[in-house]
């Protein structure tokens, strides 16, 4: 028996998705930018896919930008907004050239346990001197508290990026609350701007007047949320949202960024006028069609989706409970309640995660340390470090991620193997009981 428990790393392409994609490789192969029949046929497929996804997100078709991955969408959201705002009239630094004060640059707020696609982009902007960044530490439950974000807001804050579901530990972040809080901050800011503008008019002292920064935009990386959580962008009160195809049964190499109308966004990839000039490059027609089909499968029968989620959450809880019953000193990372139905992250005391993953693979079970994106690096999980600041815990934590394909039988098999592997590795470990 072989059991795949790494669905948060990637998922198999759904049968329906593959079928929907097939015609767009060799038959309907046209370039959507071509004006002839071949091109227009491909254009229609892309338009329909966009409309389908727009319905899912409750947005307009033109608010969706297809990208090559979730990482690209995250990069575009952050770099794009900062680049566009830096060009705009709002920037204080334009009025005080050569000023290196922190308040002169646009300010970003994100969390310390974001996906690296967000973290490293923010770090890069900092290094290049284009923005300042505040990294909010999540609480012990693995939740970023809206109150902490509110406290971190400065007059020059222009962007908040918080993930919807943490990809390593599976905790759900209060995006809607954060979105509402930011909206109220934006209303306050607008009022202040108006007052200042009036004052300026009265005093007629334009030379001393400091233009305020623009409003605050909210981005969420919803890559691990798309399958199971509400994705209505108005309900969530977000301005930008990232989805990756391969996490929801579409192929690798396709992602999207939702961008609310009016959000300043400079392109990162220059060239053709695809995606309304915001992302050049010939559309990946088969994958766009595939992504739309994967989303259609999620939308199909809303009640069934809720039942499926409940079933999955029950399986997840069974898995956690059984492991904790059978193996001593195993701890759940992150809130037990505010958790996506498919991700479990456990801390096995006194042993190291990579050794567990390696041994589990030999037993026929796929799991992972941290995220697949970081398993090549030697750094301990930045997610566990952000929550607990404990190296032993960061080194000894393993992610198991389920899907609707997962069965109880598979989990029982995995639990049996985990028990065996953990026991063996603990015998090798110098920590814990001597003997």
């Amino acid at each position: 028996m072989r059991v795949y428990l790494d669905y948060a790393a990637t998922t198999p392409v759904k049968k329906e998705v593959l079928e929907a994609m097939k015609p767009f490789f060799s038959e309907d192969f046209g370039n959507p930018s071509s004006i002839h029949t071949w091109g227009q046929s491909a254009r229609r497929a892309v338009d329909e896919a966009r409309a389908q996804i727009a319905q899912f997100l409750n947005c307009r078709s033109e608010e969706i930008i297809f990208t090559g991955s979730g990482s690209e969408a995250d990069n575009l959201a952050i770099t794009g907004v900062i680049a566009q705002i830096s060009k705009s009239k709002f920037l204080i630094s334009k009025q005080i050239p050569n000023s290196k004060s922190q308040n002169q640059k646009p300010h970003i707020i994100t969390s310390a346990f974001e996906h690296h696609a967000v973290l490293k982009t923010c770090e890069d902007l900092e290094k290049r001197g284009l923005a300042t960044v505040t990294y909010i530490r999540p609480n012990n439950e693995g939740i970023v508290e809206p109150e902490k974000i509110k406290k971190a807001i400065r007059p020059n804050t222009v962007l908040v990026s918080i993930m919807y579901v943490n990809n390593e530990i599976g905790t759900i972040q209060p995006i809607r609350e954060i979105g509402k809080m930011i909206e109220s901050e934006n209303r306050k800011r607008l009022k202040e701007n108006r007052n200042q503008y009036r004052k300026q008019k009265i005093e007629n002292a334009t030379s001393n007047f400091k233009q305020p920064f623009s409003q605050i935009y909210l981005h969420t990386d919803a890559v691990q949320a798309a399958e199971s959580l509400p994705m209505d962008v108005d309900y969530l009160h977000v301005d930008m949202l990232t989805i990756a195809g391969h996490k929801i049964g579409a192929p690798k190499g396709i992602g999207l960024l939702y961008v609310r109308r009016g959000t300043p966004l400079a392109p990162m990839i220059h060239g053709g006028e695809q995606e309304s000039g915001r992302r050049a490059g010939t559309e990946n027609v088969p994958s766009i069609v595939g992504l739309a089909e994967a989303i259609r499968q999620i939308q199909k029968a809303k009640t069934k989706r809720q039942n499926d989620n409940l079933k999955l959450a029950n399986l997840r809880d069974y898995f956690i409970k059984k492991i904790q019953e059978e193996i001593p000193e195993v701890y759940l990372n992150g809130s037990k309640i505010n958790r996506a139905p498919h991700i479990v992250n456990l801390y096995f005391k006194n042993i190291e995660g990579e050794a567990i993953v390696l041994a589990m693979d030999l037993e026929g079970v796929a799991c992972s340390t941290g995220s697949a994106c970081t398993s090549q690096s030697l750094e301990p999980s930045h997610v566990i470090m952000a929550i607990f600041n404990d190296h032993l815990r960061a080194a000894g934590s393993v992610r198991f991620s389920l899907s609707k394909l997962t069965t109880k039988k598979e989990l029982d098999f995995a639990i049996f193997k985990i028990r065996k592997v953990v026991q063996r590795l603990r015998e090798i470990s110098p920590y814990g009981k001597r003997g």
């Binding site: 006194n350 042993i351 050794a355 030999l362 470990s429 110098p430 920590y431």
Partner: protein, 141 residues
């Protein structure tokens, strides 16, 4: 498949079936190196005894070696291999074993895991230093 490529068969063998696992009661020397911050911790126990050579001289020989390791597959395999390499060797011979020799004996280690063999070498050095420090001074030549 990917994991077989990541690690040689020798590494996997030592990871799955570590040699000389455990500790030694009343060891001649113990070396504990690494910490959770760097990711791996190794404990190496040595039993060192005097042995008469054919020429009638006495030599100090590593009679037994045992280890305990917290770390990844490569760390466990490196410590296991180190104990294999030093067992039965004279101190002089054991000191000559480099971290590269450990990695080579394992059929190579991926570049990101080379530090594991370095850690095994450090554990040996520390265990030998511990042994020297605890030796009655008259025995020091």
């Amino acid at each position: 498949m990917a994991i077989e490529k990541l690690y040689s068969q020798k590494v996997m063998d030592h990871f799955l079936h570590p040699r000389n696992l455990g500790s030694i009661k009343n060891p001649s020397g113990v070396g504990r190196v690494g910490n959770p911050v760097c990711g791996d911790v190794m404990e190496l126990y040595l039993k060192i005894e005097n042995k008469k050579t054919k020429k009638g001289k006495t030599e100090e020989v590593i009679k037994d070696a045992k280890f305990k390791t917290f770390g990844c597959g490569a760390a466990i395999a490196s410590s296991s291999m180190m104990t294999e390499l030093i067992k039965g060797k004279t101190i002089k011979e054991a000191q000559k074993i480099t971290n590269l020799a450990v990695a080579e004996a394992l059929g190579g280690l991926p570049p990101v895991k080379r530090h594991c063999s370095v850690l095994a070498k450090e554990a040996l050095e520390k265990a030998l230093a511990d042994w020297r420090a605890s030796k009655p001074s008259s025995q020091i030549l």
